[in-house]
């Protein structure tokens, strides 16, 4: 019970990561692969955010009532900043992959991987 109460977020994130990986590896539809990729990236981002959390902490903006002496009263802002960059990267990745899927569809008129592989084989 203690294990679950203290670590449930990690189990949740590990599950999320694996779901994303599963989607990327075993789904035949290219869009579903992209969705899997996005889920996987989100789980990593959330993992960082979790590491910044402190019980009883607040937003890292100076609060006169809390003062500056005890850093435990504020959340760690660094992981949030890092993940802002990682989110940008994830968005760009999505954009590039959408562009590729559009290009694949224009060329082969399918985004189902098995069909696509057939057509690629026919061409070669």
């Amino acid at each position: 019970m203690e294990l679950i109460r203290g670590h449930y977020i990690y189990f949740f994130l590990a599950g999320l990561f694996l779901i994303g990986l599963y989607g990327m590896l075993f789904k035949g539809n290219l869009m579903k692969k992209i969705i899997g990729m996005s889920i996987m990236q989100s789980s990593v981002i959330l993992f960082y955010i979790t590491s910044a959390y402190k019980d009883g902490g607040t937003v890292p903006v100076l609060d006169p009532q809390r003062g500056v002496e005890n850093p435990d009263l504020y959340l760690n802002p660094l992981p949030h900043c890092l993940m802002l960059t990682a989110i940008v990267v994830a968005v760009v990745t999505l954009g590039v992959s959408f562009a590729m899927v559009i290009d694949i569809y224009r060329n082969y008129e399918t985004i189902e991987e098995p069909v696509l592989l057939e057509r690629l084989k026919d061409e070669a």
Binding site: M24, M37, M40, Q41, V44, V89, T93, D103
Partner: protein, 498 residues
Amino acid sequence: MIGPHLCPLIPVAYLFGALLVPLVGWRRGTAGWWTALATAAFAFGLAVSGLAWVMERGAVSYHLGGWMPPIGIEFVMDPLSAFLEVVISGIGLLAVVYARRSVEHELPERLMPFSSLALLVLTGLTGMVITGDLFNLYVFLEISALAGYALIAVGERPAAYAAFRYLGMGTVGASFYLLGLAFLYMTHGTLNMADMSRLLAAGDLSATVAVGLLLIFMGAALKMALFPMHGWLPDAYTHASSAATALIAPIGTKVAGYILLRVLLYLLGAGEKGSGLPLLSLLAYLGAAAVIYGSILAVCQSELKRMLAYSSVAQVGYIAIGVGLNSALGFTGAVLHILNHACMKACLFFVSGGLRLRLGHSRIPRFSNRLRRAMPWTSAAFALAALSMIGLPPTAGFFSKWYLALAAIEQSRWIFVVVLLLSSLLNAVYFFRVLERMYLDRPGAEPGAGDAAAAVKGESPPAMLLPAVALASGLLVIGLGNAWIVERLIGPMIPGGM
């Protein structure tokens, strides 16, 4: 006091160039290309002067925004970084020179976006090498990777799908790296490499750190296309345009190898600490498997670019072996091989692009000895690079294999010696197959082959020929001057404790 400022200037120069190219080349792509060329030449000059500076006065570091490390982001130019900067920007410069004619032929009207993306790839690669911050490394990794996906996606018809697979694998690799870094960061609370190295050396490796390192290892190996994680590479390199492959293949996977080198040998510390985890042995054995597997599959290919792509899988294996042996000799071999292979592979891909321009294809069974008469310089460059790949002295390729073999013998790990010898034989098989068709008369050659060769339209244009010939002669220079390189350049970068 230009020294410390050189560190950020190199990636920043590329980044500004990448933004400037679309502005200048909006109407006329050629103007954009000239901008890219000027940028690449400028950055190469910076990298060379940086190397000279570092050789003379030792490592320099630059603190971005005046924030002191370990809090702020630090750019460090130590002997290893400075050396790799020169390799990357040198190959980048030649690839940009080469790109104009090749892109105009293979991707008409796309010269401007190509130049801009090429500079973005170089921004990422030079940034990865020079940064002293582990998260910053991830950002540069993604910059180079995303620009690289776009470059590869534009090519033959199947290129978009090949690039999509590369994107999937690359993103998984980058996510693994980021996840692994999270474990390290949560344990030690720092992202600065020097600081992290100090903290890792201070205590025993906890299970959390071990998991983090394993994830980083997996991520970097995926990016590096280390066997068995190489699945994305052959298709991506085959279907991309020649200029894109010639830019990405020689340096892209090596820089991922650099992450492994940096993390395993510098961050984790060479010697006792490093051997606490079996990562280095794993790396060496995977490298050995990659060498054999890549070479065998290269023998089976009938398309020149595809053969070269599989050979890249094999060559990355050499670097992995060198790092995995965890000794001064192995390190020397690995770093020397990064340089050698960058030159060899760039030269070979330049040649394959030249063949595609003049011959219209690069299918090995349709080569004939008319090629040698029509394109003597191209053939000569190919032959020299091929001999270097096989590892014949005095070409450069011999010496890196020599150091790797010495390192394996030193530790009595005979299996690696056998792998190195066997792979040289396999390299000979797949390159002589091409050289034979290029150089020797074939009695009773099938008439179809003659017709195909008749279509050869003479030697490659100078802008495409020059980079290939320069690299091929560079291989001889590197080979003959290898003692100087090893002593003056690689000697100072060997991590302490080896």
